[in-house]
Amino acid sequence: MIAEAAPRARSRMERAGWLFVLPLALVLATGYVWPLFQAGVNSFHLNTPEGIDLGHWTDANYAKLLDPLYQSILERTLRISLIVSAITAVLAYPVAFFIVRLKPKVQPWLILVYVSPWLVNTVVKSFGWSLLLRSNGVINTTLQHLGLIDAPLHLMLNETGVIIALVPGHFMFVLLPLWAAASGLDPNLKWAAGTLGAPPWQIFLRVTLPLTLPSLIAGLVINFTMNMTAFAAPAILGGVRARTVSFLAFQVNLEQLNWPLGGAIAVGLLVFTLAVVWSGQRLAFLAVRSGRTRP
């Protein structure tokens, strides 16, 4: 009797559960999956003066992405993102280990300082950077006043400006996982390596780095995708001379109103981002496994 009633009761329970989940699922289906799908469909049609030609399917928009102009914009975006991630990785280690050595009560405050750029609106932050970096800005005025330079340095409206603004902007994505990994590190390991005669650089390379590598990779993956898709900082500090993919997507969609091409750029960016996230996860997984099996 009871054994027979149980599956039926469970399936009734399951139906009630779906009622809870359904509202959010429906909102996301209409406001998230459907728009992305629609943009994907648009990207396979031609843009004509009368509107999008939905009668014919084509891959011309994707072929246009291979155009040298667009390729150079993609290359610039990749270059900027890689440089920012590399700088962040190098800077995050000393910061993470400095924070770990502080008293536990002080640590959250310092973390808050490093998270704060992310909490501030990117337009406001980029405006602040433009005040610092422009030719009559704080940095150039100070350097000229001190007599270190004669003419103002070109610090913005080029790739330099974008990199300077993006490093602090996306710093926390690497710092937070690294800080967590560094907090969990057994101090005896370093001490043991030291007693066996390893100099500090060898302790770092053969003990600290392998143990924190999965966290570093996880952080860098997020950092890199954020760099690839940042919009406000490249738009304000890079301008038209240092256009990135996201700025190009904005121009194509809102100035040229070429939605099929804009959709193709969006799809390309999405596929690229997902590929980076996926391979980063694989890489972190392999790093964890090789760390475990190392003799």
Binding site: V21, Y32, N42, F98, V113, L119, G137, T225, L270, T273
Partner: protein, 192 residues
């Protein structure tokens, strides 16, 4: 090490501090050094109708989006935590997935979508977009919160004759209040 970290902190905070600082100077143009103080621009901003309207709209939008995302996510998280739904893991992943879709990509998709259904320049379109963007934060927070709410309390309420909805309102929501407030504030800040 200490000097390096001090320099890093300056780099992190400099642009933010500078923006706040120049808002208190009287000049119409940016000029170094910044040595005078004035509230002139605050008076101008507050008497500038476009700014006031935009500010009010932003606040209204953020509050609505946060309310919607928190309410929907609360029910969805409850369903995921309390019922053995087939594909729970997939659903949680789906609700969190807007996090990995770049803002530009979703923005483009939303622009084309909203234009197509004729909601361009309409609050509804903006509201849906904001709800989608902040949902991952709400669902993650509330999923963790509800897992910590003891199910025995809910059983006790239902044994005493409460309907499920009454039990949710009188037992689960108060017990999860802290997580709900956290989710709401997080969504509000991100949406604003």
């Amino acid at each position: 090490m200490r000097a390096f970290n001090a320099a890093m902190i300056v780099v992190m905070l400099a642009p933010i501090v500078l923006v706040v600082w120049i808002s208190f100077t009287p000049e119409a143009f940016f000029r170094v050094p910044l040595d005078s103080f004035s509230l002139r621009w605050y008076r101008e901003a507050l008497s500038y109708p476009d700014f006031v309207n935009a500010f009010v709209l932003s606040a209204k939008l953020a509050a609505l989006a946060a309310l919607m995302a928190t309410a929907l996510s609360f029910f969805a998280a409850y369903g995921l935590v309390r019922y053995r739904l087939a594909g729970r893991g997939f659903l949680l992943g789906f609700f969190t997935s807007p996090l990995v879709v770049p803002a530009v990509v979703f923005g483009i998709a939303m622009l084309q979508f909203v234009n197509r259904i004729g909601l361009y320049n309409d609050l509804i379109g903006l509201l849906i977009a904001h709800v989608v963007v902040v949902t991952p934060y709400a669902i993650r927070t509330l999923h963790a919160t509800l897992q910590a709410v003891p199910e025995e309390m809910e059983w006790a309420a239902m044994v005493l004759g409460a309907t499920r909805l009454r039990m949710l309102g009188r037992v689960t929501v108060p017990l999860a209040a802290r997580g709900i407030v956290t989710a709401f504030l997080f969504c509000f800040l991100l949406s604003f």
